[in-house]
């Protein structure tokens, strides 16, 4: 058991992204006049790196065995949070002591993936039974609903690609996909009518029609595009982007952190970071293909789908290709829980890679 058994590409991409993350947070911390942000992000990234290595050196199959128990615990925790968690910024998504704590909803995602992997491995022969599909849906939908009730729609939505990936990897036939698509459309319609808040509807409408209220709801996206575009080839220098430093850029340490990086390092830096993410994600899918068993393949495939969906949607939003949804960028956005969850996923993937040739 040695660190050298871990995938160097995956590890390298992770470290590159983590470096960029610290530098970007360091910039935005100056803009927001909160130097603590950069320091904390750095601590979390170090802890995350530790998690990746430790988990990578462990056996993912052990964790899968524990998945049902962990999952039950998680659901209990999420349910209890709806009642007991402190109300912060309108949601009950955070628990902890004093200032130390986090968002369990991020970590529960990894537990859910473990359980999905376990289910897939146990039901490998029966390709397309309805019971299996329903069970999968229930496993993912339960935490999703509990999180949506907090309410934290952004995190809740990040469970959706996991469900889709699980169904896809489980071999769900095309006709079922068609049925699911129709159901999704119906669900989206229902959500539009009864669940989405007016400001959320406005965001979608603004994206679909950029002329709609160009100065109100479109403000964030416009400022983001200005920041990215103003970066040019080589950027305006770290801590020197006017869009971030003069706070024209909204939510710059979370949702729009990539815009900070793009403005200050230009196409050179942003392109490099994009390449690092691409490498990371491709590598995860390659690990899934190289996995020794169905459990590993499904876990890595789900982790890859989750991180790919979140990364692509966030970048599309920052670059003005998707509506503002409140989805953060894995590893780069500020937040310990998100980094921890990502690193748990990456650690499992490393473990799957390390044990790809294991016989027992």
């Amino acid at each position: 058991m040695s660190v050298r058994q871990l995938d160097p590409w995956l590890l390298g991409a992770f470290l590159l992204i983590a470096t960029c993350s610290f530098l970007a947070q360091n910039s935005t911390a100056q803009a927001l006049d909160s130097p603590g942000f950069a320091t904390r992000q750095l601590v979390w990234l170090f802890l995350g790196a530790g998690v990746v290595v430790v988990l990578g050196l462990s056996d993912y199959r052990v964790w899968a065995r524990a998945a049902p128990a962990l999952y039950a615990l998680s659901l209990g925790l999420l349910a209890a949070m709806l009642v007991f968690a402190p109300l912060r910024a309108g949601t009950r998504s955070w628990i902890g002591f004093g200032s130390f704590g986090g968002q369990p909803s991020e970590v529960v995602r990894v537990v859910t993936i473990l359980l999905i992997g376990l289910l897939a491995a146990e039901h490998r022969q029966r390709r397309s039974d309805l019971a299996g599909v329903v069970r999968l849906c229930a496993v993912v939908a339960t935490p999703m609903v509990l999180i949506a009730l907090q309410p934290d729609l952004g995190v809740s939505l990040t469970y959706l690609p996991i469900l889709l990936a699980a169904l896809w990897l489980g071999g769900l036939p095309w006709r079922v996909w068609t049925a699911l698509l129709l159901a999704a459309l119906a669900l989206a319609g229902a959500a539009w009518l009864w669940y989405l808040k007016p400001y959320q509807r406005e965001r979608v409408l603004t994206f679909l029609d950029s002329d709609r209220a160009p100065l109100a709801a479109g403000y964030q996206q416009r400022q983001s595009r200005i920041a990215v575009g103003a970066g040019g080839l080589t950027g305006r220098g770290l801590k020197s982007g006017t869009q971030s430093q003069l706070r024209f850029l909204p939510a710059q340490h979370t949702d729009f952190i990539f815009a900070v990086w793009a403005e200050e390092t230009g196409f050179a830096g942003a392109g490099l970071l994009l390449a690092a993410y691409a490498t990371l994600l491709m590598r995860i899918f390659l690990v899934a293909i190289a996995a020794r068993d169905r459990l590993g393949a499904v876990i890595a495939g789900c982790v890859g789908s989750w991180l790919a969906a979140q990364t692509i949607f966030n970048l599309a939003m920052v670059l003005g290709l998707a509506p503002t949804t409140g989805i953060t960028l894995p590893l780069l956005s500020y937040g310990g829980s998100s980094i921890l969850a990502t690193c748990l996923g990456l650690g499992l993937v490393q473990s799957i890679w390390r044990l790809r040739f294991a016989n027992a």
Binding site: A216, V228, A230, G232, A270, L281, A300, I312, G320
Partner: protein, 617 residues
């Protein structure tokens, strides 16, 4: 571990598809990044700059306007403006509502101003002027909600002379779009001269705007000053006006409609220039008060017109010295030639009445001027003919602008047969010439033209160009009248004031210095027998005119006074001129009006059954 390795190929195939989808998505993102940063980079950089940089206009204080002694006619006082940065507006409705609540105007006004500001795009516009302390406090309090507003200290015009100098000074107005396009030192919302001296000397008074470039953050707070280009204040404008005389003219004309022009006959330097009724220039000093503007436009007395330059009046008997000089100079009349006035003459078979029903008896040219005998000038006009009358009038500057350095001057009218055919469609009638002989009919002059013509009569025969600031570069043009002729005409005009029968002899009571001049009363409607002018409705009364000068021996000031529908030159216009001359030469004696003297054209005793003197053949 019990997880057996079964056939994973279907899962691997599907994972490979996910990998390809992911790769495709990244290619799209990379392409988008390339587009934004490399292809459109400059555009977004510009937008980032306009996000953070604000160019604040630093308005140049307009130059003061001073009278000949350095007393301020117009000066400045501090004021506060509200600037709007159109690109910063986040919510039009809220901004508009805020402005309406601020009390800078009704909703329509506010919307119009905002719309205009938007057309100017990246430059800030003045959206409100002359803010009160309460309004400034409200803007400051809502700074974080409305980044688009900025309070700006500036200066505003102040008018020590009030409405009495309104036409002379002129009003300010917001610079128009076409002017904005022509001159790049102007800015939307900036006030520029629209009339009077403010317009004529905009380039001197206006100065050059400055710029302050500051960096602001997303909340609109000033972070740092990047560069400052100081404004160049407008230069003070020294005029030839005598503020005291201008005030005296306004006091003398109080309640009247008309105009006064007082000038130095030797140089053409204007000492006072007044038009009544006037407007309040303070109300144009900032944003134009549209209600006031509409009110002025609707006012039937046309207070926006500068009657001194734009008022067209038949000169009436004030034309007589001009024709007398012309006739004496070319020999149409000898100094000793006389006419016997019976109160009525017959020319071309038509009766023409002299204003004095009983007649003036035998009159020579000096006496004809003294008593303003119409009969003398009827015959003179008949003998001279229209062409020579017109030539004499033109020689003394009538029928064309005097070239005064104020905008909007009109030409007046000196008739000719050609003019008659062109504009009226028929030939000139000989009988009309007789009317023109006493300044009636189709002959029109402005007060400033009359002042210039009299200046030439009394300054030794030079046509000066009247001016408020800059004298003409070329010396005055000699009008070609011999000194003896001028002396004779001046003697007649002295007798108007100082003679026993003079039509303005009440002015003699003012004492030194000796004054001289000529009265005039020009008809607006046909005279009706047995009606005193004071009993007529105002708009049917005659215009009262007087053009005078003093000291009679060495004229230093010519004053032309026109009182629209004033009734009678001798009793209405002459006392006003007398008051102005009295002020100019140091004594404050009031000259009373009223009917205690001889009234030219006084309708007190009309001759029974007399015909109309303006009858055309």
């Amino acid at each position: 571990m019990s997880f057996v390795r079964d056939d994973l190929r279907p899962v691997q195939r599907r994972t490979a598809i996910l990998l390809l989808l992911c790769a495709a998505a990244f290619l799209i993102l990379l392409g988008r990044l390339w587009t934004l940063q490399i292809i459109q980079g400059e555009k977004w950089q510009r937008l980032a700059e306009s996000n953070r940089l604000r160019r604040l206009p630093l308005e140049a204080p307009r130059g003061e306007i001073l009278d000949r002694h350095g007393e301020a006619i117009v000066n400045n006082r501090p004021a506060f403006q509200l600037l709007l940065f159109p690109e910063e507006i986040r919510n039009h409705e809220e901004s508009t509502r805020f402005l309406v609540n601020l009390g800078i105007g009704d909703e329509a006004t506010v919307r119009e101003r905002v719309a205009r500001a938007l057309r100017a795009s990246h430059l800030p516009s003045v959206i409100a002027d002359n803010l009160t302390w309460a309004q400034m406090a409200a803007v400051a309090a809502h700074r974080s909600e409305f980044h688009e507003f900025e309070i700006h200290q500036t200066t505003r015009r102040s008018y020590p002379l009030g409405p009495s100098a309104a036409h002379l000074v002129g009003q300010l107005g917001e610079v128009g779009p076409e002017q904005l396009g022509r001159q790049d030192n102007l800015r939307p919302g900036q006030l520029v001269g629209r009339s009077g001296l403010e317009k004529a000397y905009q380039n001197v008074l206006g100065g050059t705007m400055g710029n302050l470039v500051v960096m602001v953050d997303a909340l609109g707070r000033q972070v740092s000053k990047l560069s400052e280009e100081k404004p160049l204040p407008g230069k003070p404008l020294r005029t030839t006006i005598d503020a005291g005389l201008q005030r005296a003219a306004a006091a003398a004309m109080a309640g009247q409609v008309g105009a006064v022009v007082a000038l130095d006959p030797h140089t053409g330097a204007v000492r006072a220039l007044l038009s009544q009724p006037a407007f309040d220039p303070e109300r144009f000093a900032g944003f134009v008060d549209h209600n006031y503007w509409r009110e002025l436009l609707a006012n039937s007395y046309k207070p926006l017109n500068n009657r001194a330059l734009q008022g067209l009046y038949p000169p009436g008997s004030t034309i007589k010295p001009l024709f007398a000089a012309g006739a004496l100079a070319d020999g149409t009349r000898g100094p000793g030639d006389t006419v016997f006035c019976t109160g009525q003459v017959h020319i071309y078979g038509h009766p023409y009445r002299c204003w004095l029903a009983g007649g003036h008896g035998r009159v020579d040219v000096e006496t004809a001027l003294e008593v303003s005998c119409d009969s003398y000038f009827y015959y003179l006009a008949r003998d001279a003919g229209l062409e020579r009358l017109a030539a004499w009038a033109r020689t003394l500057g009538l029928g064309r602008p005097t070239g005064i350095d104020l905008p909007g001057e009109v030409s007046g009218l000196v008739p000719s047969d050609e003019w008659s055919r062109r504009t009226r469609g028929h030939q000139w009638f000989a009988g009309e010439t007789i009317s023109v002989g006493i300044g009636q009919g189709p002959i029109l002059a402005t007060p400033v033209q009359l002042a210039v013509a009299y200046a030439a009569l009394v300054n030794g025969g030079y046509l000066v160009r009247p001016h408020v600031v800059t004298a003409a570069a070329t010396p005055p043009v000699p009008v070609g009248l011999p000194a003896a002729v001028l002396a004779r005409v001046r003697a007649g005009m002295e007798r108007v004031v100082n003679g026993d029968r003079g039509t303005a002899r009440r002015l003699a009571a003012l004492g030194a210095p000796r004054k001289a001049g000529k009265t005039g009363t020009s008809q607006v409607v046909r005279k009706r027998d047995g009606v005193k002018w004071r009993d007529l409705p105002w708009e049917q009364r005659h215009h009262a005119l007087f053009v005078g000068y003093a000291p009679a021996q060495a004229p230093a000031l010519v004053v032309a006074v026109v009182v629209e529908h004033g009734g009678d030159g001798g009793s209405v216009a002459a006392p006003i001129a007398g008051q102005i001359l009295a002020h100019a030469f140091g004594d404050g004696v009031e000259v009373s009006g009223g009917e205690n003297g001889a009234h030219e054209d006084s309708w007190a005793a009309p001759p029974p059954g007399a015909g109309n003197r303006r009858e055309s053949p």
